[in-house]
């Protein structure tokens, strides 16, 4: 459903700071895949998601979604079928607008916006039910400004915003990394619930190896702008952290050492 062919992204091309962040990436994502992406800092994980979302243009290669070439499509047009949650809880919501207004914006994501009222009682009721399902107690605060919410509440809201209109693809960029462990667990549970219930094809970056192993049906490891591991099915189901470390060392031809610190912050 999503296909990347030879995708390359170079920052500061032609300068001394030239940095090849994505190197000839080939990836085929199947309908309903829930892929966790791991890799050390600078491996290109975030850039990969940003390239898929259209934040950055690629230097080489093509991106196909449901067979349609979206390589040159601007970010806001891709947003009609791609939902996103960012690491920074501030990024995914409009702070000085109310909860219901934020949800109303998401509600119009894939349709043409008109001069109809942005909100009405029918929509409010729908939003109230959606929020009640999450068990965060936000359903009685529809007209609260979002800036009054905690980081965890904002991430939960962003998840609901990103999946309000079922996206073809959901991109989660370390969306629990800025949260405390118990809130992170809560958001992870909500993520799994929404993704599995709605059957949304999802790419999720995480720094936490245990989460990466536990969640989803497929695991991708990136290193230096390339995909060095792609584990799915029963291999993924029986995977352990130690196996993964061994596989990394074999694939990357170097010791895991410094990456171990980065990847095993797994108290969550």
């Amino acid at each position: 459903m999503l296909e990347l062919k030879g995708v390359t992204k170079i920052f500061n091309a032609g300068t001394v700071n030239e940095n090849v962040v994505l190197r000839d990436i080939n990836l085929k994502v199947d309908e309903g895949d829930f892929i966790s992406i791991i890799g050390s800092n600078g491996a290109g994980k975030s850039t990969l998601l940003n390239v898929i979302a259209g934040v950055y243009a690629v230097d080489k290669g093509t991106i196909l979604l449901d067979g349609r070439d979206i390589t040159r499509m601007p970010e806001h047009e891709r947003a009609r079928f791609i939902g996103r949650v960012f690491q920074d809880p501030m990024k995914g919501t409009a702070p000085s607008m109310t909860i219901e207004e934020n949800l109303a914006i998401a509600y119009c994501r894939s349709s043409r916006r008109t001069l109809k009222w942005g909100l009405n009682n029918k929509l409010r009721e729908e939003f109230r039910q959606k929020l009640a399902e999450t068990g965060l107690g936000l359903e009685n605060r529809l007209n609260y400004k979002v800036k009054l919410l905690s980081g965890g509440q904002r991430q939960a809201l962003t998840l609901i915003i990103a999946t309000m209109v079922k996206p073809k693809l959901l991109l989660l960029d370390e969306h629990t990394a800025a949260l405390d462990p118990s809130t992170a667990r809560q958001i992870n549970n909500l993520t799994e619930e929404i993704v599995l219930q709605k059957g949304i094809t999802t790419l999720m970056i995480t720094h936490n190896m245990e989460h990466a192993i536990k969640m989803g049906n497929r695991l991708i490891m990136m290193d230096k702008g390339q995909i060095i591991l792609d584990i799915k099915g029963s291999d993924k189901a029986s995977l352990t952290v130690n196996e993964l470390v061994d596989m990394f060392e074999e694939a990357a031809h170097r010791k895991f050492d410094e990456d171990r610190v980065m990847l095993r912050v797994s108290n969550g």
Binding site: H76, M97, I105, T114, W117
Partner: protein, 298 residues
């Protein structure tokens, strides 16, 4: 005193339409738009030249607004298409408008004292001379305020607000933030030009220099209003801009009574805006020094 109040009300309302325009760019869109210093006299110039040549004053208001919309649109295009920073884009348009306004008027000022303005028509329809300004400005300002309130609650209005509040979130939700910027700037400058067109007929002339300091006066109005009424909702915020505009004109009237020269007013306004803009900071500063003093005491 009564006369002072009435004049402040009239001016507060007619310049309040300009303040609503500044509210759109400054508060909703978070875009520093100096275009208004050019689009205000642009509206005045377009309307005056039409009225001076015996055109219909309603048509004059319409074309003035259209001219303002065009000016805002150009600033928006410079910013989003030519990728020039917001502030510079607006300065460029403002500067270009100086020449354009002179071209439109053909001279540095156009007098309307012997022309049939919209007020001439209203008086002919029976509106008493002493109330004609206040009546029209009240209706116009509150009609525009209500329309703006409604617009900001539509789906497109939400998109405009999200663009100013968090452009990244807006784009992630399928909003074309470039289009929204252009839309907001156009709308804003349309209102500013309409205000300029009404002011020209109110004071009986259009002058090439009448736009200087428009943005500062607009900011002063929006900020004074916000300090007094807060921004609990859209309706309150837009009303606050009108209210702030009234308070601002009243303070100017008082300053003139106190013997300040009219030419000193820009300086006074600037000082007022500086105080208003830095007040929250001053307040926070005071609070943090007191609290640190307390914790040191402990």
């Amino acid at each position: 005193m009564f006369g002072l109040m009435i004049t402040a009300l009239e001016q507060g309302l007619v310049f309040g339409i300009m303040a609503l325009g500044v509210y759109i760019t400054f508060k909703v869109l978070d875009f520093p738009d100096l275009t208004v210093d050019g689009s205000f006299p642009l509206g005045a110039a377009v309307a005056s030249i039409i009225i001076f040549n015996n055109g219909n004053p309603l048509l004059a208001l319409f074309f003035a607004t259209v001219a303002g919309i065009t000016a805002g649109c150009i600033t928006g295009l410079l910013n989003t298409r030519a990728k020039i920073t917001g502030l510079l884009s607006s300065i460029l348009t403002m500067t270009a408008l100086y020449s354009i306004n002179l071209r439109i008027m053909g001279r540095a000022n156009v007098t309307l004292l012997n022309s049939r303005t919209i007020f001439t028509y209203l008086e002919e329809w029976g509106v008493p001379h002493s109330w004609v300004f206040l009546a029209l400005f009240t209706i116009a300002a509150f009609l525009i305020k209500s329309l703006l309130d409604c617009f900001l609650k539509t789906q497109i209005g939400f998109a405009l607000r999200a663009t100013g509040d968090n452009p990244e979130m807006a784009r992630a939700n399928g909003i074309n933030t470039d289009t929204m910027k252009i839309l907001g700037l156009s709308l804003s400058n349309g209102l500013v030009a309409l205000s300029g067109a009404l002011v020209a007929q109110y004071q009986g002339f259009a002058d090439i220099g009448m736009g200087i300091g428009t943005i500062v006066a607009g900011l002063a109005s929006v900020i004074i209003g916000e300090m007094m009424l807060g921004e609990r909702s859209i309706g309150v915020a837009t009303f606050a801009s009108l209210m702030g505009s009234f308070i601002y004109r009243l303070s100017i009237g008082i300053a003139l009574r106190l013997g300040f020269a009219a030419t000193d007013l820009k300086l006074l306004t600037t000082i007022l805006v500086i105080i208003a803009l830095s007040t929250p900071k001053i307040r926070n500063l005071l609070r943090s020094t007191t609290s640190s003093a307390v914790s040191n005491g402990n």
